[in-house]
Amino acid sequence: MPMTRYALMDLELQDPTPVLEVPLGYQGLAVVFRRGGRVVGFELEALLPGGSPEIRSRASQAARRGLLTALQEDIRRELAPQSARPANPSVTVVICTHNQTERLARCLASLERMEQPAGAGRPEILVVDNAPPNDATECLVRLSAGVRYVQELRQGLDFARNRAIAEATGEILAFLDDDVVADRFWYQALLEAINQAPGAGAVTGSLLPFELETTAQVLFERRGGFRRGFEYRCYAGQDLPGNPLYPCGAGIFGTGGNMAFRRSVLQELGGFDEALDTGRPLAGGGDLDMFYRVIRAGHPLVYDPSVVGFHQHRRTRAQLRRQYWTWGTGFMAYARKSYLADPPMRSRWRRMVIWWFKDQVRSLLHSVIGRNPTPPGMVLAELAGGVIGIAGEYERSLRRVQRIREAVS
């Protein structure tokens, strides 16, 4: 099977005559629209063989949408009360990593290149090395200036995250995955988002593709990837008109690869659930669970699309299938856990689970008839993961985690 590659390019809208160049050898185009450097839009477009004249008009439409969101953002800022500039909170950037030295180096380098907003100090950078098999990560971090290194021996992402909560000094904890590269304006946008919504318990950002060089990566991105749109959104309260499953469908809030919390909120909620996100066999759901609990505790959650990171997707189809499986198990384990822990929401949870399975079956059908680019095998993997997840995986995980705790202590 030939490899599908999409060219990824930046397009500056303030450029007087932006020119769209389609390089040879690519089957598609992914355009990141920027305005004054800040990301305002993204467009993914397959190219027909022999070049596609449509691409310019489609991209123009996307550019218009980008301009519109930019304008909307300007208006929102203008309408905000002109209060005194709030003091920038102290931020700790947490990178939890496990045996991924190269990626971690790339991620740290992107933080190095970060634009510094005026009047804000550099963020504290904290690398939590989770159950390291060797000292490669430690060596790397020791070489980078201004980066703290902490080891967490108990294997599990949420062990690492909770360790970060204990170790960090900043008011705000911004979590980045090690396979994410932060945008130049990531820190600036994050500070602005926090300053604009001082009451928010969490701020999430968007993740765009870092590269689209393999079929698996293109497939993943075409399914929607980690994108959540380019509109600033603020979630507050326990209901969202038009969404009866809110806040159970926590996927709308953001992704764990690029999220930030107020440390006090995390402490109040008792940190991440260590039974989720343990790596195999239950490698997900911790971020969703945290978003859900933040909302349920009454803290507003802000999704700000200008807080952008670039995520390196799984390169092979097997890895991708594995990821979908993870999503299925993770989501259902999170559902199981919340169903048990949050009785007032149970009816919503029942509907949520029914909807999820219905939706999976629908996408499976669409996949079979070719309306869904994701291959049926991958949809099936997610569906099967969901079945496993709901069938006692959370309880099993709880027992496993208990064993880990005992073993390490």
Binding site: P16, R56, L67
Partner: protein, 835 residues
């Protein structure tokens, strides 16, 4: 689902964004966002939502207004389909280079510039019908317009009361125009014809206009290619479920916050699917260039409220677009509309909308043969309805449930409506009261005088007269637009024998016996006033006038009579013949002339009657009844196809021994009750009018036929004298004419029944006449009508037959009724003799 009341909040962002005030009494809040006079967006908030904190509120506002702001500030980026991006060989034509405006203050460039004073181009037309309260509110907002319109015209459409006239009478700067024929299109057309401005702006009576409305309309016409400007219609209130359903479920009238230009591209792009012209706007806020009316014609009078239902506005836009014009939707042209409050009203409205829409599609198709209209009618609308039916069953969407039935019925009714009216004229070329023919009289002997023509007449009917003696009708077409017909043109058409020397006036000249004129009226004070005005001009030495008011509902007629200082008598017993009998008893002179309130008498009427009675053997005289006006189609049909009321220009004498029994029966060929006179002595011999007959009784007519018959049957001489001329205002409306046909059939049947009983003609002749002549005539014309070979519309013919069939029942009813009145008579119906 629908929650009411909804609070409507107007927020001007130029004053900064206030906090959203929290009102738990309202079920929801709709926020309409403005930048001064520029509407930007609408936001909805349900009250069960917790009060928005500042951030959410700002997000909502910024998201809502961003599209409109972009449309106003960067129209070249957002309105054009141009590519914003180039490729290496071909850089983009529209540059993105300029910075995105960073302040809303820049929106001020999109505001309509202020211009005080008064507009020189825009005439404002408001059509109304019996809603004085609404109209008062509307006019109140009109008075606050800056600039003012050139003129404000209130068209009062078929009013039932004089409330509108009285309301407008007190206002300066507002012209009042009555349009008696019901129908919004007719009213609008009347407004167009009366307006002087180059731009005619329309609004409705249930609307409040914003102060810069006229300025915005004028601004919309700055581009010379624009023929039509429509605007944003916002809900003025959402207090009832019906109003909310209308606004939510059907999008109300609002067409968004973007300026749109609809032209050739739009038309040809969508033509194959039926051009969605209704998207252009709403009739409650529109303005049209006068030149566009000249190019594409007026509103189609088969459409619109009062006719098919609606779509008269969009059908006109369709013609404008089809002829290459442009329509502009400009949201800065804002009005606030008060939707119907009751759900029943809404159901009716939906029915009418769909009926109008279906009829409009067929009219558009028949006019231009654009198949998209048919496609929409036979495919898109039915499948849309089918989907809604299925959805309604599955999901139980409530507001649709009670309206969907109305919509489907409306669509079907629209098709039928079109096929019934497809031959009707779309509009009369002038608009106001659609005159068909101008009626005038022309004195042959007098030196040439040109005949003035009002606007828009197609034909001229001239009654040629020689020293008052009617000679005959001259009919001639009127060249379009000519204000007068020169006398020479008329003369050229006169037959030679008319212009020769007059025949010597008979040797009875100078006889002027005293005459009592009895005019019977019932609840038509306006007509009575006109009659009395005409009676003032009668030239006769010795006469009296008695107004007999028959079972009046109020004393309006008495007031009119008092103004003219004539004798006024009230007859409480209902029935025209009761009134006539009362007139006989009140009359002091030896000759009693009867007429109706819907005529105007000629100045020589009494002179001619007097001459008619110069022969002492003549006991009764009846005269010529000419049409007063031929403005409407029913009047024209009645006069031209049915022969009207005139019985020719030849004087005739009728006497029993010279008449066949058939002639004795069909006395309708002899004369009409609107113009007849008798010697009083004849009543002593044959009795008074038959009170069981004529208008006001179940018989519905026939009193005049009966009295002519009895006069002749008793052997007296009756004279037809065409010089005794009155002008009769025929029925203006088709419905009135249909009623007349019905009554004629019915009363003639009753009259025949009476002849059967009294045996004044042989029963054999009567039966033969009834079956062979009358019956065959009635049925035969219906057959012709069904074949499409009769010039009268089928409903009229059927009404005649139906009336005849109801005759036997009416016969029994009317005589029983008459007995009851006579029995109760003295006690119940006595009234003071003279007031």
């Amino acid at each position: 689902m629908s929650r009411v009341p909804v609070r409507i909040l107007h927020v001007d962002l130029a004053n900064g964004l206030p906090d959203l005030p929290w009102d738990p009494t309202a079920a929801a809040t709709w926020v309409i966002l403005w930048w001064r006079t520029l509407p930007l967006a609408r936001l909805e908030f349900a009250s069960q939502q917790p009060p928005l904190d500042g951030d959410l509120w700002r997000i909502g506002v910024s998201r809502a207004i961003a599209p409109a702001v972009a449309g106003w500030l960067m129209p070249e980026l957002f309105r054009s389909g141009e590519s914003l991006l180039g490729i290496r060989e071909m850089p983009p034509r529209v540059g993105l280079g300029r910075p995105i405006p960073t302040s809303l203050e820049v929106l001020s460039s999109a505001l309509i510039p202020d211009s005080g004073g008064s507009s020189t181009a825009v005439s404002l037309v408001i059509c109304t019908r019996d809603r004085p309260d609404d109209l008062a509110r509307c006019l109140d907002s009109v008075h606050q317009l800056v600039p003012r319109p050139l003129e404000t015209i209130v068209v009062d459409n078929a009013p039932a009361t004089s409330a509108t006239r009285e309301l407008v009478a007190g206002m300066v700067n507002v012209r009042y125009i009555p349009e008696p024929r019901p129908g919004l299109s007719r009213a609008r057309n009347a407004g167009v014809c009366a307006a002087r401005g180059d731009i005619v702006a329309f609004t409705d009576d249930d609307v409040r206009v914003t102060p810069n409305w006229i300025a915005a309309v004028e601004h919309g016409f700055r581009e010379p290619t624009v023929s039509v400007v429509t605007g944003l219609v916002l809900p003025a209130e959402l207090e009832t479920e019906s109003q909310l359903i209308f606004e939510q479920g059907f999008g109300g009238f609002g067409q968004g916050f973007h300026r749109q230009l609809y032209g050739n591209g739009f038309f040809w792009h969508t033509r194959a699917y039926g051009v969605p012209v209704w998207r252009i706007g709403a009739g409650a806020s529109m303005a049209i260039r006068r030149s566009a009316f000249e190019r594409v014609g007026l509103f189609d009078e088969r459409l619109g409220a009062g006719a098919a239902g609606c779509s008269e506005d969009s059908e006109l836009w369709y013609r404008v677009l089809a002829e290459g014009g442009q329509c502009c939707y400009d949201p800065r042209v804002v009005v606030h509309h008060y939707h119907r409050r009751e759900i029943r009203g809404l159901q009716r409205q939906m029915y009418l909308y769909l009926r109008g829409h279906a009829a409009a599609l067929l009219i558009q198709f028949s006019q231009y043969h654009h198949w998209g209209n048919l496609r929409r009618l036979v495919y898109d609308i039915p499948s849309h309805h089918a989907k809604l039916v299925i959805k309604g069953i599955l999901r139980r969407t409530k507001h649709r449930k009670y309206l969907l039935g109305s919509e489907i019925r409306g669509t079907v009714a629209g098709v039928f409506y079109f096929f019934q009216r497809r031959k009707d004229p779309a509009y009369s070329p002038t608009g106001q009261s659609a005159p068909m023919a101008k009626v005038a009289s022309f004195e042959v002997d007098e030196p040439a005088a040109d005949v003035p023509i009002g606007r828009g007449y197609q034909e001229l009917w001239l009654l040629a007269r020689q020293r008052g003696i009617p000679l005959g009708w001259i009919q001639m077409p009127i060249p379009p637009g000519s204000p007068v017909i020169p006398a020479t043109a008329v003369r050229a058409r006169l037959p030679r024998q008319w212009t020769s020397d007059p025949e010597p006036v008979g040797n009875h000249g100078g006889a002027t016996p005293p005459i009592s004129v009895v005019v019977c009226t019932r609840d038509r004070p306006e007509l009575l006033r006109r009659f009395l005005e005409s009676a003032r001009c009668l030239r006769y030495p010795n006469w009296e006038l008695i107004v007999v008011d028959n079972a009046p509902a109020d004393n309006a007629a008495a007031e009119v009579a008092a103004q003219f200082e004539v004798r006024y008598v009230k007859e409480a017993r209902p029935g025209l013949d009761w009134a006539r009998n009362r007139g006989i008893h009140e009359a002091v002179h030896g000759i009693v002339a009867f007429t109706d309130d819907d005529v105007q008498v000629d100045t020589g009427w009494l002179t001619a009657l007097g001459l008619g009675f110069a022969d002492p053997s003549v006991m009764a005289v009846t005269g010529l009844v000419a049409p007063l006006e031929l403005d409407t189609l029913p009047q024209m049909l009645f006069e031209r196809v049915c022969g009207g009321m005139g019985k020719g220009m030849q004087s005739r004498l009728y006497q029993r021994d010279r008449l066949r029994p058939t002639d004795l029966i069909q006395t309708q060929a002899i004369g009409v009750g609107a113009n007849m006179a008798f010697r009083r002595t004849v009543f002593e011999r044959i009795g008074d009018f038959d009170t069981a007959l004529d208008v006001g009784t179940p018989a519905g007519g026939g009193g005049d036929l009966d009295i002519f018959h009895r006069v002749l049957a008793a052997g007296f001489v009756l004279r037809y004298e065409p010089r005794a001329l009155v002008w009769h205002r025929h029925r203006r409306e088709m419905s009135e004419l249909r009623q007349l046909f019905y009554n004629d059939g019915r009363s003639f049947a009753v009259y025949l029944g009476k002849l059967w009983r009294t045996r004044t003609v042989s029963r054999l002749a009567l039966a033969g006449y009834t079956v062979w002549r009358w019956g065959r005539w009635l049925v035969g014309r219906i057959v012709l009508g069904l074949l499409g070979r009769h010039r009268l519309p089928l409903p009229l013919l059927l009404a005649g037959l139906w009336g005849a069939l109801s005759g036997p029942g009416a016969y029994r009813a009317t005589y029983r009724n008459d007995e009851r009145i006579r029995g109760a008579g003295r006690g119940q119906f006595t009234s003071p003799a003279v007031e």
